[in-house]
Symmetry: C2
């Protein structure tokens, strides 16, 4: 790719990235034309080909940008250092929302790219995955203290359920084509409070006392 791309103004550079994320997220790789991306970015197709020598290069650059941004934003948020489960979820949510404000379609793009089957790019995508897979979720789960939660609850299922609910909520917004990040944040906040009120063992002392009897 042309290094001049990096000396573009941030506004223009992100316009191009977002145009790419958007177009590639709506249709498969093969059916996402460069001309459409150029139009969405407000530049000519020829200029887009000036920055990226061909379609595949742009696509893989977007994928790389996407992975790096996600990892960076998550580690920078401090979510991984939180010891409290819901605290780390809160931080992680904030990080993801911050990212979606900058790149509204980055989430959908990531999923579509991950499952893209076109042989022209699928191999490169899968190869680059190794370095980005994180085991944070599993580790987080191991560290949970069952005493903090209502008795008898299946913690791994609880974790998965919360993950699915977040995805489902996100999906509802995604489907509309544009994303209202503020409304989404409200919904996520409500979900977090709901989970805390339901899953957490509230009266730790009284529970201990009853067990002692």
């Amino acid at each position: 790719m042309n290094p001049k791309f990096f000396s573009l103004s941030e506004e223009k550079r992100e316009a191009i990235l977002n145009a790419g994320f958007h177009v590639f997220s709506q249709n498969s790789y093969k059916k996402s034309p460069m001309s459409e991306i150029a139009d969405a970015a407000g530049i000519s197709k020829a200029l887009l080909f000036h920055y990226f020598h061909n379609k595949k290069e742009l696509y893989l650059f977007l994928w790389d940008t996407c992975c790096k941004a996600m990892v960076e934003e998550m580690t920078r948020s401090g979510a991984y250092e939180q010891t409290d489960l819901f605290g780390s979820m809160d931080y992680g949510m904030k990080a993801k929302l911050r990212l979606m404000r900058q790149y509204p379609d980055i989430g959908i793009f990531a999923v579509r790219a991950f499952y893209e089957k076109d042989p022209e790019v699928s191999a490169d995508i899968q190869n680059s995955m190794g370095q980005y897979l994180n085991a944070h979720a599993a580790k987080k789960l191991q560290k949970l203290d069952p005493e903090d939660f209502i008795p008898g609850i299946d913690l791994s299922l609880m974790y998965k359920e919360m993950y699915w609910a977040s995805e489902g909520c996100l999906w509802e917004y995604i489907q509309r084509g544009y994303i209202n990040v503020d409304a989404m944040e409200k919904d996520f906040r409500k979900l977090l409070e709901f989970w805390k009120s339901v899953y957490l063992r509230k009266n730790r002392e009284t529970a201990d006392e009853r067990d002692a009897i």
Copy 2:
């Protein structure tokens, strides 16, 4: 559309429907070629145009089939007559799974068609929506007895949370391109049991006794 389509063998007819659901669910209307649908159905493009005079007709027929099948399957399942919340969810789930076994991509197709923006079909889609919108969810929510659930829980949020979790779970399967309905059923069952164990007020008597003290 050509009435001869209905006198086709069920196997062939459903192969065509499923091919249509699949192709139209993966890309936008404009970028879903008839040739691809014909190939997926195992027939020639010319024959597909013999049954459906043009692309739009096939698309709207698929949409109509999709809406009718969903409504019919849900009412036939008896889910709406169940008084118990989790019972009706169980029945509804079974109905949807049955439908997805017959038409694996009908769910994704429905969502994509609902939000399709191409002016060639979007108007017709939206016009036909009025008759299919059901108010069952809202009614179901009104009938819930707070005494059945753990104290202080926000029932409408609980309902929404469960809905989102189901969607999120479904989404995970959808993204893979093909759908393993059996594995999905297992996951849904586990979710249902989890919700029951968490949301339901288990020891109705003991709880009342404690309150009385």
